[in-house]
């Protein structure tokens, strides 16, 4: 969330480099940032602070919770839920890569080859949003059902032996890790496709022509020109896919099984079933911090200046 908030802020530097601002317009940017800033404080900073204090409380729902600065809660949740953590990031990474593999050719086609079908294709990319997230996820239960087409195909081609050996499936696809990754990749695919399309579409066609004139074949043109220029889209798309996927629990709940729960499931259970607020809050914060650290490292390595 903080990253998403940081993005537009970075983009706003350019206009301020205009002619010397009058004293009145000096405050304009602050005014313009006011709604977003207030929203950020009310809906993000304060809830996070509440979460932080909750995580340091002890007690029970009926006896009440008191702030006792009980730090060991963090150790407890980490030692108890590290497998869920590992799976969250593993599945999110898998889903991000899968989504990138599907979305890049798709976005490339829309940007360079679609011609007059471009608008139609873009509409189709976001079309899944016209139905409920839950319904779309539940539909995958039918597609991946034990006697369904996907499983029959995988069994007939022997692909199932391979995925079984890799521990991704267990003689079935539904209620396995593979199903969760597929569900995540599917649900966040538009978030990958749109930023990719955006950066691909902006590429100056003259550069491709120039590359051709310098006797580069189409592969070389792609690797030396198109791919580097599309990197901002890749970074943006992977962030928009990875971050929500790491915190998601609905896909796991519908498509996974009890032995492969993710952090989100643990938080859900702690908050709503076990009603262990401090543990739930601690786990949420750890997840948040872990994502922020991972993403910061990633963005730093990818180079922020390209994130326009």
């Amino acid at each position: 969330m903080s990253i998403a908030a940081a993005l537009p802020a970075g983009g706003h530097h350019a206009p301020s480099a205009g002619p010397a601002p009058s004293s009145r317009s000096k405050f304009t940017p602050y005014f313009l940032l006011l709604p977003a800033g207030l929203a950020l404080i009310v809906f993000y900073v304060l809830p996070t602070l509440t979460l932080a204090t909750t995580s340091l409380q002890t007690g029970s729902l009926e006896q009440g919770y008191t702030l006792t600065w009980h730090w060991p809660t963090y150790g407890e949740v980490l030692s108890q839920y590290w497998p869920q953590f590992a799976r969250s990031f593993g599945y999110a990474a898998g889903a991000t890569i899968l989504a990138l593999l599907i979305a890049y050719p798709l976005a490339y086609t829309i940007a360079f080859k679609a011609g007059r079908f471009r608008t139609l294709m873009l509409t189709l990319v976001v079309a899944p949003f016209f139905t409920s997230f839950l319904i779309r996820t539940l539909a995958w239960r039918q597609i991946l059902a034990d006697e369904g087409p996907v499983v029959s195909f995988m069994k007939a081609t022997g692909l199932m032996h391979l995925t079984d050996a890799l521990g991704m499936t267990q003689g079935r696809v539904l209620a396995t890790g593979l199903a969760v990754v597929i569900g995540l990749a599917y649900n966040f695919l538009p978030f990958m496709t749109l930023p990719l399309y955006n950066s691909l579409e902006k590429i100056d066609r003259g550069l491709l022509k120039a590359s051709e004139d310098l006797y580069a074949n189409s592969w070389t043109t792609f690797w030396k020109v198109t791919w580097p220029l599309s990197l901002p889209g890749v970074v943006g798309g992977t962030l928009l896919t990875f971050i929500p996927a790491a915190g998601d629990y609905v896909n796991q709940q519908f498509l996974g099984t009890i032995s492969n729960t993710m952090t989100g499931n643990a938080i859900d259970s702690l908050f709503l079933q076990q009603r262990q607020y401090p543990q739930a809050a601690a786990l949420s914060l750890v997840l948040m911090v872990a994502i922020i650290v991972l993403v910061s490292v990633y963005v730093k390595r990818a180079g922020t200046e390209e994130l326009v």
């Binding site: 207030l38 404080i41 009310v42 900073v45 304060l46 602070l49 509440t50 204090t53 909750t54 409380q57 007690g59 029970s60 729902l61 009926e62 006896q63 009440g64 919770y65 008191t66 702030l67 839920y81 869920q84 539940l138 239960r141 039918q142 059902a145 034990d146 006697e147 267990q170 003689g171 079935r172 539904l174 209620a175 996974g256 099984t257 009890i258 032995s259 492969n260 729960t261 499931n265 643990a266 859900d268 259970s269 702690l270 908050f271 709503l272 079933q273 076990q274 009603r275 262990q276 607020y277």
Partner: protein, 427 residues
């Protein structure tokens, strides 16, 4: 129960409101320390750690008229909300999805509600927003703890949640003089352990948890032991996320009484389920979303609720339902009236209406759960004998003997059992 102050201490109500207002004002940042200090989540139990004795809190409450020393009449609600029933002819009723008769032509119309509105002139707002006892509780708890009114004047929750709400003092006494049809209540349900005499809760529907299986993909499944250990079912079994039903069935299967068991017996039952989980026998824990998988065969057999399966059988007559010989769990959902309800009398009239045998029969005909109303079966024999003769909807004496209600838990037990059960579910 008795040392519990029926009124929620205003100190608590005030504190909760203050925190929320701080949040809105954004003043928290300016004085982080104060914010942190005010941020504790107060206990919902009146005798909480703040130790504010009921006497002092009631004296501090007395902005207005009557703060008589010891508030002993438990019916006086904390918010002192006036009952507007006579002037404002409305009532809001929260219940579970697909838990009321529906007009075959218009899914948004409920014929029994229309009849009630016609008979009494009271407009009913029927909301299907109870999906899970714990989640609904999470939603209403902060509001009730702050001494405010929730949207519902009457809502429907399961036995153990009623016990919890009563323990917390969130419910009002029901005025039985307004519910003459209460005499139709099945006598077995009158003196339940959590509310003898039904002072604050009245049964809406009951049901069993047992075993459902799909004969197209498995041979008959007769017991929980078979469900948990038969290798032929590996990876094709689901259990219920409702701890009391799943663990109740396993306890009964082990030969224990789920209405009276020890920690050691519970641990043994957990170990049994854990073994099945580790062996990959269990595919998932579900609410009533086992329906789709059971019909398609992805789930060969599962722990399931009677009403669901009877409804499923209407479209898929091949599905089978078994009440295990060693016993099944019996649960009931109940009408309760929360403190702060502005239409208490209207809610009581509503309950009275649904305790007419004819109306109860109409509901039973649609929802297919067990009606608590004596006479519903006789009424239904005339209109829809196939439902009236269904042993899962109107069970025989013999079946009822096998049905057991899960024992009432203390908060400590509930927390420990829930934690152990959540581990089974992988979180």
């Amino acid at each position: 129960m008795n040392e519990q102050n029926p009124t929620i201490p205003p100190a608590l109500a005030g504190r909760a409101g203050l925190t929320r207002r701080n949040l809105l004002r954004g003043a928290g940042l300016a004085s982080t320390a104060a914010f942190l200090a005010a941020c504790g989540i107060k206990g919902t139990n009146a005798g909480g750690p703040s130790g504010s004795p009921s006497g002092s809190s009631s004296s501090s409450s007395s902005g207005s008229s009557e703060s008589s020393g010891a508030p002993s009449s438990s019916s006086s609600s904390s918010a002192e909300v006036a009952d507007l029933s006579d002037t404002d002819k409305t009532v809001t009723w929260s219940s579970w999805p697909e838990y009321l008769d529906v007009d075959p032509k218009d899914a948004n119309k409920h014929p029994s509600i229309d009849q009630f509105e016609k008979a009494t002139g009271i407009k009913v707002t029927y909301v299907e927003d109870v999906n899970d006892n714990n989640q609904y509780f999470a939603k209403i708890q902060p509001v009730l703890a702050a001494g405010q009114s929730i949207a519902a004047d009457v809502f429907v929750v399961t036995d153990w949640m009623v016990a919890k709400l009563m323990r917390l003092g969130y419910l009002q006494d029901i005025d039985h003089s307004l519910i003459p049809n209460f005499k139709n209540l099945n006598p077995d349900l009158l003196n339940v352990s959590f509310d003898p005499g039904r002072k604050q809760s009245i049964t809406w529907q009951s049901g069993f948890a047992g075993i459902a299986y799909n004969p197209k993909v498995t041979k008959p499944v007769e017991s929980m032991d078979q469900l948990l250990t038969d290798p032929a079912l590996k990876g094709k079994v689901t259990l219920l996320t409702e701890m009391r039903d799943t663990m109740g069935l396993v306890l009964l299967d082990l030969g224990y009484d789920c209405s009276n068991f020890t920690d050691a017996q519970f641990d043994e039952a957990v170990a049994k389920v854990q073994k099945a989980v580790s062996a990959g026998q269990i595919r998932q824990f579900t609410g009533n979303d086992y329906a789709q998988g059971l019909v398609s065969g992805d789930i060969a057999a599962c722990a399931a609720w009677t009403g669901d399966v009877v409804q499923l059988q209407a479209d898929n007559p091949f599905l089978k339902y078994v009440l295990p010989a060693k016993g099944c769990t019996l649960w009931s959902d109940n009408f309760v009236i929360p403190k702060g309800s502005k239409h208490k009398k209207n809610a009581e009239l509503l309950i009275n209406f649904y305790y007419q045998p004819d109306t109860a029969a109409e509901v039973a005909d649609y929802v297919n759960y067990i009606s608590p109303v004596v006479g519903a079966k006789e009424a239904l024999l005339k209109s829809d004998p196939s439902v009236a003769n269904n042993p899962l909807i109107f069970p025989s004496e013999d079946v009822m003997k096998r049905a057991h209600v899960f024992m009432a838990l203390t908060e400590d037990q509930e927390n420990r059992y829930n934690a152990a059960f959540s581990k089974l579910m992988g979180s």
